[in-house]
């Protein structure tokens, strides 16, 4: 039986970690992810886990300690946000290329500057090419569920890639919601134990991790890593199918919300999708064929699958909650546009950058976006492709 419990996103992640009981947690605090190691430290003090809890001196070190532990054959976890994730940057790539399946919880927060502690995806999007799988949750339940699936995806022999479980800073990390927690023994049975084939502490099989790869080998190593990311797609679906069978909640690469016959649609991520769904419902009541696609898996990006869903639409707004400074759109727009480019029949696409640094996103704002999409659908005129929304204008 699932247990109804009131938990913040951070406590939900810490709870999942307690149930999984990882071998190593290397922690360094940063707002708004700090509560995750804070809750976990209590579990350690109370003897609820037998995790080696290491307090290190930086995020560069926390992820490095996790990599050392993973190479030694352990299941290792950590959590961070914003500048902390940026400080891990170098080590993130080492985790990916060394194929060490560390699981990293990210309470997504704006990057400086101006200095800001609130939510957007500038931290996680800046690391989208680091070789991590990235799962995003809309609410506390999805964040908890994504965490329960994370280790199985990351550690799968055909994948062996590190993974970020992303939640929206403060909005998800600190807001308390009623969610369903699964029983400890059922979680343990679902996640299973980690038994890598080769590891540093296996004395009968000496191992070297992360060797130098000259140009005669680098390309091959990167192709193999790219293949692992492709393999992750099927593994993500397989684990989600088993999750649904075990716990009853269904997940895919993305959630299609009222997309069956949608003519105008939004592609959006995280908690903002909940707000946008209210706008979709309102429009549907008025007979407007509006829909929404909420991206759960950003890496690997489900391009082909997304294109199939969007091909029937007339106009689509991609909602980017991070600024990429490309002068032609944010990262989610680039991926979505790339996914649609070879469709015979494709929608008009616009990019809207919104919600930066915790700027509110409202149902009224979502309705404005759909209003613009309806205009594009009727006239075929796109207007400006890349715009910002929610800022004060002179």
């Amino acid at each position: 039986m699932s247990i109804r419990e009131r938990l913040s996103g951070n406590e939900a992640i810490a709870t999942a970690m307690r149930q999984i009981n990882p071998d190593v947690f290397a922690m360094f605090p940063i707002t708004p992810s700090t509560e995750i190691p804070q809750y976990f430290a209590q579990y350690v003090a109370d003897g609820k886990v037998d995790t080696e809890f290491i307090c290190v001196e930086s995020e560069h070190s926390s992820l490095s300690a996790c990599l050392g532990a993973e190479a030694a054959g352990c299941r290792a976890v950590t959590a961070t946000s914003s500048a902390g994730l940026s400080y891990m940057n170098e080590v993130l790539y080492v985790a990916g290329s060394s194929r060490l399946p560390v699981v990293l919880a990210v309470a997504c927060r704006a990057l400086t500057g101006p200095i800001n502690i609130n939510h957007d995806y500038s931290d996680s999007m800046a690391e989208r090419d680091s070789g991590f799988i990235q799962l995003y949750g809309e609410n506390n339940q999805e964040v908890y569920d994504n965490y329960l699936m994370a280790h199985r995806i990351a550690e799968h022999p055909l994948v062996r890639l590190p993974l970020m479980v992303c939640e929206d800073g403060f909005i998800t990390s600190h807001a308390i919601e009623n969610i369903e927690i699964e029983e400890d023994d059922k979680v343990k049975a679902f996640v299973g134990e980690y038994h890598p084939e080769n590891y540093l502490l296996k004395k009968e099989n000496p191992l070297a991790v992360g060797p130098y790869g000259v140009s005669g080998y680098y390309m091959e190593a990167r192709v193999a890593q790219a293949q692992a990311m492709k393999n992750a797609k099927q593994v993500i679906l397989d684990v989600a199918a088993d999750f649904e069978k075990t716990f009853g909640r269904k997940y895919g690469f993305f959630e299609e919300y009222r997309m069956e016959d949608a003519e105008v649609a939004m592609v959006i991520m995280g908690s903002s999708a909940g707000t946008a769904k209210a706008a979709v419902d309102e429009l549907r009541r008025d007979g407007v064929k509006a829909g929404l696609v909420k991206i759960r898996v950003f890496r690997p990006f489900p391009g082909e699958e997304l294109a199939k869903v969007l091909t029937g639409c007339k106009a689509v707004a991609v909602m980017d909650k991070s600024e990429g400074f490309s002068a032609c759109g944010g990262p989610l727009f680039a991926e979505t546009a790339g996914a649609c480019i070879n469709l015979d029949k494709r929608p008009k696409l616009i990019d809207i950058v919104f919600g930066l640094g915790g700027r509110d996103f409202t149902v009224a704002a979502a309705l404005q976006v759909f209003d613009r999409l309806q205009g594009i659908a009727e006239t075929g005129e796109i207007g400006e492709v890349y715009t910002h929304m929610g800022q004060r204008e002179a």
């Binding site: 290329s97 060394s98 194929r99 060490l100 062996r160 084939e197 080769n198 099989n205 000496p206 191992l207 070297a208 991790v209 992360g210 060797p211 790869g213 005669g216 080998y217 390309m219 091959e220 190593a221 192709v223 193999a224 293949q227």
Partner: protein, 101 residues
Amino acid sequence: MSRKAAEINEQIPWQEMTVGCEIYEPGTSRLTKTGEWRSKTPVWLEEKCKQCVLCAPFCPDACIPVSDGKRREFDYDHCKGCGICIKACPFNAIEWKEDEA
């Protein structure tokens, strides 16, 4: 795939590389001759050598083999020519090879 380092070379396809380029056995530096990086070469003058063996632990690349308590000829397959052994030797029994200086 647990392929041994000796079976990995610049002809094998990416599908046959090990995961994350992991190496599954020790001592694989024997397979790679890094001595070709050397631009200057230390030479051991056996007649001057008192076999104090101070040079061997100073070598950063373990290129001065020691057996039966005595240093032996340089491992030129791996010596980078850093010259630390020349500085370490109290008896001037190691010097740079002429015409390379």
